[in-house]
Subunit: 272 residues, 2 copies
């Protein structure tokens, strides 16, 4: 095990901005609500008071940013919609740039994010964590739209394997993405972590280059590995979906471990 | 394009047994029923009259063999349960041999095939073409059983991508297998075509070595490619799921093409 404080000393002084994952770092999700992780509300306040740039970088696709931010504000977090980088708005930019008209297989609560996108006569499929909308009929329908294209275009809002809610583990969008990829012999374009373009847009919105930014997340592959491939440093918190076996991951090694966001902020602010 | 008769002359004389795929070769499926392909009922009779050994080799997992055979008899085919090699009985043999207790994610009509298998306290998951049983809840449940195992064992009854029914294309078991494989970071064991062991058991039941057997199927990968990897010759019929682009398949080339089963039988019987 690496020790947060000692290992970070060498490089944390250059930090000018932080990217925070949300679920599993700020709060634990479950059912319709969630519970803040101890010390996280205060930790966000301390980051903002420190003068460091801050951006929330989430793969959340079960709600619009507005609804998602309202939930976090309700838990006491100092957060606004303008501070959130999320897959759906990033996907909308891509759809507009490439004149793509999506067939949506997403959560009902995410649909408003695509309000201004032309969805008639679809020429691509966008898949998110559709949860209860992942029915046999909806999966067959998305498949038929894809297989009917001369060159199928599948855009996936993240590639997570699974996540935990209060009533147990749930398959995440990545599993359904793989099903459609296999059936149509196509490779999905992933929008969201760990895609490089997604981290880069979060950095651009914050105005900080990768070597001066730290990603803090609970997901060894999507948060830590993705950020490191962009040239950022990355810490893994031991909250949320963290599991002890992550510390033996064959490919990804965080720049440091911290027990939670509060400890991460302690250590980072000490270096400034 | 290869011509059936000419190409086959050189090797078809050695043939002593035929393996026939069923759906797309004998009949076209759809909804609750199906329609025999022109000439197929008579072709099966001619094979039996010729003295050639015959075995039906199917990946059908939406019904017990009893129900499946009854449907084919109803269309006029001379077929009995004892002549059918299907994934569920093959899976049952594996489950017994390895003391595996399955959690089943299969079609309701297939469940009786597993009647004699201990299913308490499952230590593996068996997935078939569950069709309407591929619900969000059932997929999450199968996933939770798998991810809860120290070493997840996933047995898949086939690995088809999709198939066609009268009301359109449907995702096949392979797509859902891929979803679970990805979520659990595990590789499924495939029982059924194109698995080598499955063809070998069909050959053993027929008592014919691979070099003296011909597989006739509509699926370029699962029928033709699978049989050829076992040392058999294989013909592709231009019925069922056959598509003209199959004739440019990058890896698999049938030993000959025939327009349908009736033509295959014509050509083979001419060589004897």
């Amino acid at each position: 095990r690496q020790e947060g404080g000692r290992e970070m000393a060498a490089w944390a002084r250059a930090v000018r901005g932080l990217l925070l994952d949300v679920s599993g770092v700020l709060y634990d999700s479950g059912g319709d609500g969630g519970v803040p992780i101890a010390g996280s509300v205060e930790a966000v306040r301390r980051i903002k008071a420190s003068g460091l740039k801050l951006r929330f970088c989430t793969n959340e696709t079960q709600a619009t940013r507005e609804k998602f931010v309202k939930k976090l504000q309700g838990m006491g977090f100092d957060i606004s919609v303008a501070e959130v980088t999320a897959p759906a708005p990033a996907a909308c930019r891509i759809l507009k740039e490439r004149s793509l008209r999506p067939h949506l297989l997403v959560h009902n609560d995410l649909v408003p994010e695509f309000a201004e996108i032309d969805k008639a006569n679809p020429n691509c499929v966008v898949i998110g964590d559709a949860a209860e909308n992942f029915t046999y009929a909806n999966l067959n329908e998305a498949f038929r739209v894809l297989i009917g294209m001369e060159k199928p275009v599948l855009i996936s809002l993240g590639r997570g394997r699974y996540y935990k809610e209060t009533d147990g583990l749930k398959l995440d969008v990545g599993a359904y993405m793989k099903a459609l990829e296999y059936a149509c012999d196509v490779q999905a374009e992933v929008v969201g972590k760990p895609a490089k373009a997604f981290f880069e847009s979060a950095l651009a919105e914050m105005g900080v280059p990768p070597q001066e930014a730290i990603m803090i997340g609970d997901d060894i592959v999507n948060d830590v590995g993705g950020a490191q491939r962009c040239g950022m440093r990355a810490l893994q918190v031991r909250t949320g979906k963290y599991r002890p076996c992550d510390e033996n991951h064959p490919h990804v090694k965080p720049d440091a471990y911290v027990n939670n966001l509060a400890e991460a902020v302690d250590v980072i602010l000490q270096q400034l």
